[in-house]
């Protein structure tokens, strides 16, 4: 069953040099529970595609449908509420709020959803990523690997049906990257979420059930690989 579908999606952005076409006529279905890797060279549009899927960027053409809801006509606030209810996002640069402790960062999406037990759940989530000893620390007081684990906990805390990860190991060394990969797939498996990630790492892509290759803003059909598993 398709949980996310893109129909003829295109994206053009206005830059200093004029309008730049980023994505061209992308049509793609993502199935519930699958793990999908978006790969491709730099500038191929994979991160933009992930943003469009998460409603963080508005497609300039076509339709984006998530869980049966068309994101195209939604307002900014509707999109925010929709993400809050159904999606978790992890970034390469973690994007933690610098003025908040690890616990507070994880609690934010739960608080926004009005959860009464936001902090208990946030604490449990941090424990699940092995950071129970760091709950009172601010981002600047933590290593990159630890910050990304907090970001993972934050994304997973509201139990989203879809997890979006933009190069989650891109800023980490091999050991930390492997640990984050394990945690990411562990969370996905435990909660039965659909995972869509952008990566340059072949190892990480190989862990996914499906890999989609992008080139110049288009899906490279010839390179769409079915995972070995």
């Amino acid at each position: 069953m398709s949980i996310l579908s893109l129909a003829d999606v295109s994206l053009s952005l206005k830059g200093n040099a004029g309008i730049v076409d980023i994505l061209h006529s992308i049509t793609l279905d993502v199935h519930e529970g699958e793990t999908l890797a978006l790969v491709g060279p730099s500038g191929s549009g994979k991160s933009s595609l992930l943003m469009v899927m998460g409603g963080l960027e508005r497609a300039t053409g076509g339709h984006v449908s998530v869980l049966g809801h068309d994101l195209t006509p939604m307002s900014e606030d509707d999109l925010a509420r929709f993400r809050r209810a159904h999606m978790g996002v992890v970034f390469q640069s973690f994007h933690l709020i610098p003025t908040m402790t690890a616990l507070e960062n994880v609690a934010v999406p739960l608080e926004l959803a009005g959860a009464k037990d936001a902090f208990d759940r946030a604490e449990a989530e941090l424990e699940a990523v092995g950071l129970s000893h760091r709950i009172g620390h601010f981002p600047a007081q933590m290593s990159g690997g630890e910050q990304q684990r907090v970001a993972l906990a934050r994304a997973a805390a509201p139990r989203p049906q879809i997890l979006l990860a933009d190069e989650p190991t891109g800023n980490l060394d091999g050991t930390n990257g492997a640990a984050i990969t394990d945690l990411l797939f562990g969370l996905q498996e435990r909660h039965g979420a659909t995972l869509i990630l952008v990566t340059h790492s072949r190892t990480l892509a190989a862990k996914c059930s499906r890999v989609v290759q992008l080139r110049d803003g288009r899906i490279d059909e010839a390179q769409v690989l079915e995972a070995a598993q």
Binding site: L56, A80, A85, H95, T99, M100, V108, E111, L112, A140
Partner: protein, 838 residues
Amino acid sequence: MTLAWTFAKRELRTGLSGFGIFLACLALGVAAIAAVGSVRASIEAGLAREGAALLGGDAEIEFTYRFATEEERVWMETRADAVSEIVDFRSLAVAEVDGVTERGLTQVKAVDSAYPLIGEVVLDPPLPLPEALQGPGAVMERVLADRMGLVVGDTFRLGTQDFTLTAMLVTEPDSSAGGFGLGPRTIVLRDDLAESSLLEPGTLFSSKYRLELPEGAGLAELEAEAEARFAESGLRWTDARNGAPGISEFVERLGAFLILVGLSGLAVGGVGVSSAVRAYLATKTSVIATLRTLGASRSTIFQTYFLQIGILTLVGLALGLALGAVLPLVFAPIIEARLPVPASFGIYPAPLLEAAIYGLLAALVFTLWPLARAEEIRPAALFRDALSSGRLLPSGRYLLATIFLVAALVGTAAFFSETVFLTLWTSGGILGALIVLALSSIVIRFLAKRLATAKAARGRTALRLALGAIGGPREEAASVVLSLGLGLSVLAAVGQIDGNLRGAITGELPDVAPSYFFVDIQNDQLPGFMDRLESDPEVSRIDSAPMLRGIITRINGQPAAEVAGDHWVLQGDRGVTYSVDVPDNTRVTDGTWWDADYTGPPQISFAAEEAMEMGLSLGDELTINILGRDITGEITSFREVDFSTAGIGFILSMNPAALAGAPHTHIATVYASEEAEAPILRDLASQFPNITAIRVRDAIDRVSELLGGLAAATSYGASATLLTGFLVLIGAAAAGQRARTYEAAILKTLGASRISILRSFAWRSAILGLGAGLVALLAGALGGWAVATFIFETEYTLIWRNALAIIGAGIITTLAAGLAFSLGPLAATPAQVLRNRE
């Protein structure tokens, strides 16, 4: 230095963008001081130019309660081409209007045919003054005529003399020389007062002789000659070199005070300048670290950025000076129309130089610390977070330099204002407020950080985000609290001082003060006067005392000013009384009161507090000139005199025999219910037309009005400070916009709606504004309390209306600046923002 200059020039090639707030803060602070100084210089130039016209002659000789003697008159006439005599006193104008008797206190100027020697009296309808005063005729200010319901052609009475109102007085050339008067002006001919019974011996009047001198007459020489020839006669000399000394001094003092208030604006601007330099250097961290990696010394780094900031400072100063010089010229017509004195608007170098020195010193004080931090940036900053490695205080030499610069700033202010006491108080206030605000910003950040992580804040995401942002590592909280707080502190202090003074005058005073002061009660009128009042059940108390006026000329044989300086008791004449016994409302604190039948050498009882201020002791000899005659007496006791209730209180009291024979009148205070005031005035004014009644409530209103004007002038000065504070706020909000955009993007990604993000930003601004407002109120109230307690010696109460307005202004101002810079972050799409940070 050459290398630093080369680097500085290269860095400045990108232009001055990003330094808008730096330049605006400095320029506005300098402009405010330059503008106030220029207006003051313009007024002083106007007063100097119009000195003779303001005085009504080239020179003036004034006597208190007497006319010039024959000898004095001859001296004047032999030296002047023309002499004009005028008499100035207070009286009641009385008129029957529609069967009702109307009375109005008026300041009468009785003139001769030579008046005015210089200038012109403007009347409505436009008549020549001699024609208007024929009849006997009189002219009066419209405000009094309207109050009494008089129109041209009506008759009114001064004392026992009837006058026809022939015209309204529009302007009199010498109005500025008169000083503070309780009643509007009426002009009559002196000769017409001969039968009025208003100028009897002992009545309170002053006679002024205006001299028109031959061209080239030396004013200084004539003054010296008059004072030597008629030493200790009570003669007071004024001349065209300073035609309106009272106003001149007032303008000088008010201008000095407003410039000191302007310094607080410069301090607020300094906070903005400091923030701008910090922000600029933060963007240059990698450049500085690279230069250090390549071998640049600490001093090269310091000089490079010192030169850049120096050039910007000069640009800011030039802008401020241009603005400060031009603004008074642009608004000259409006200012001139509102000024009661002439002004000669132009560009005056002295106030511009003064403002430039202040601006330069303030810029150095506020940029030195951030610049000192620049040289501490190490090459390792390229690999680590540079901000977290900065020390709180710079090295010792910069601390010493800062202390020296602050001392130079205060010293310069004291030099220019010529009032060391006021400068030290104001500078201390500004420095104290800055320290309190800086400490408060640390406390606010600490509390916010603690509250953000407190359990109580859980679930209140918007509030918690706001608290987290305030307690976070950025410097927005310090900038906002310092800049807005200082502006609001000045306004709060002005409001609290004004409110308390007015409260003391209009609140409590009418309850304890008498209803009326009656002056010029002749000896033979006193029994009838007392009979009328003592038989009135509505009158609760009557105090009366004999009253003479005298000038203290010598203390222990030496000129009084040489012993006691310029103490206010020596400024002009003072009331002198005598009594057999110690009056009920005073208490002897030291020494002994004379016996009832004492007839020996004159003895004096002096007010204790003033005696202490003047350095007088028991046994000291005072020479007092009363009606041209010197009386020397010994101080044999000190008394406690309470002037706060507006009752009868004399600095000087003597034994009765000492003043025997001196013509004098009596003064009386009457305490009665408000309803009884009108009948008392009606009866006494009818029975004793020469007696002048001063309604205390009217006098209180007049003083209150004057205080209101002073408070308004100070508030305008303080508003410039607040405007600078608002600029700094805008700077802080603009500097924080990038961070807010980032936060908004993360929050949107996590599912926050725009309204909840906006709410968080609003909380942040409101909390900071509330904090700044509360601290400002504390600082302002402290200032108000200190001034009320130590200077005006009145009780202090917090003026709640002003307090709430200050807190409200703090919240609204920060909200306005904060929210204006929140719209951009709210509109940005998260994908772009977050990707740009990757």
